[in-house]
Symmetry: C3
Amino acid sequence: MIETINISTSYAEEFRDITSLVEEKVKISGIKEGMVTVFVQHTTAAVTINENADSSVVEDILSTLDKIIPPRGNYSHAEGNSHAHIKSSLIGSSRQIIIQNGKLKLGTWQGIYFCEFDGPRRREIWLKINS
Amino acid sequence: MIETINISTSYAEEFRDITSLVEEKVKISGIKEGMVTVFVQHTTAAVTINENADSSVVEDILSTLDKIIPPRGNYSHAEGNSHAHIKSSLIGSSRQIIIQNGKLKLGTWQGIYFCEFDGPRRREIWLKINS
Amino acid sequence: MIETINISTSYAEEFRDITSLVEEKVKISGIKEGMVTVFVQHTTAAVTINENADSSVVEDILSTLDKIIPPRGNYSHAEGNSHAHIKSSLIGSSRQIIIQNGKLKLGTWQGIYFCEFDGPRRREIWLKINS
């Protein structure tokens, strides 16, 4: 079963909490025990799991990534978004979350974040839900 | 089938080889052909696969991560562990390993490491084992 | 079902597009709806998904990784390939791709890349294909 999540990001770089959107799709699937794979079909975005309580955490991730991989660096790729491609490969384009009793089994402080590195844009995320 | 591994880390930052612990749980599961997903339910820790022979490799990973993402950097998050959250997203919170003939199918030099970035602490790792 | 892909890399560091090789194995498997896990069994290599159109993107990823994690840095590991081990853990040793209608379900610009960080060498990649 493949589900699609569509979002519109608001900024050039942004971490968007998509936990409730993933949870909703898992609920619709009716699968009680299994696994959901969250797959980002873009090459200048990614998905990660990190703290959902204090938003300064994801701000620190974004600003530190910008220090390590500056948006305006000396890159070959002519489109000016090489930094976004590099961040995409470092963070990764998919994550797996266990489904238990029809719900996402996440740690207390864990949220699922769509990582926008070259926005704002319309983005599409694919979910594969398996029992 | 979900299994839990509990460990207590000993240092602020540490790579702990959990291969034999994962292998034991796979054995108990009785599943001969399939996949195990190792999922870390914390946001200041991670899981990776790397060399199991020379411990200087994981020491180099830890010390290089500290150079790139200093523990005492200029971060917003007030708890002082932003570096650990950032490393968690860079290394990632889950890994998949193939099960073949009831055993983990790993390369000769591969071990599974729990990555502690904000210890020492009690930590819990979840395994989803599927045929 | 486990399949093996054998490749020989040509350079010390290189991103090799293996999308068509993975696709061929999925076709042979006969599985129409499912998931393929691409698993790299080496500790100085990795697998990622990134842009398949302009090769300057993967060149930028490689050169930026070399700036962050220099091949000739101050490392403990005596074999001189610590940088390759570190990059392996940052990019990761496995990726999952959805199979739909017998084909890899990838974004328009997405290709699967084997990441060589300590070549040239013969390398082996394992695929676990599940319905």
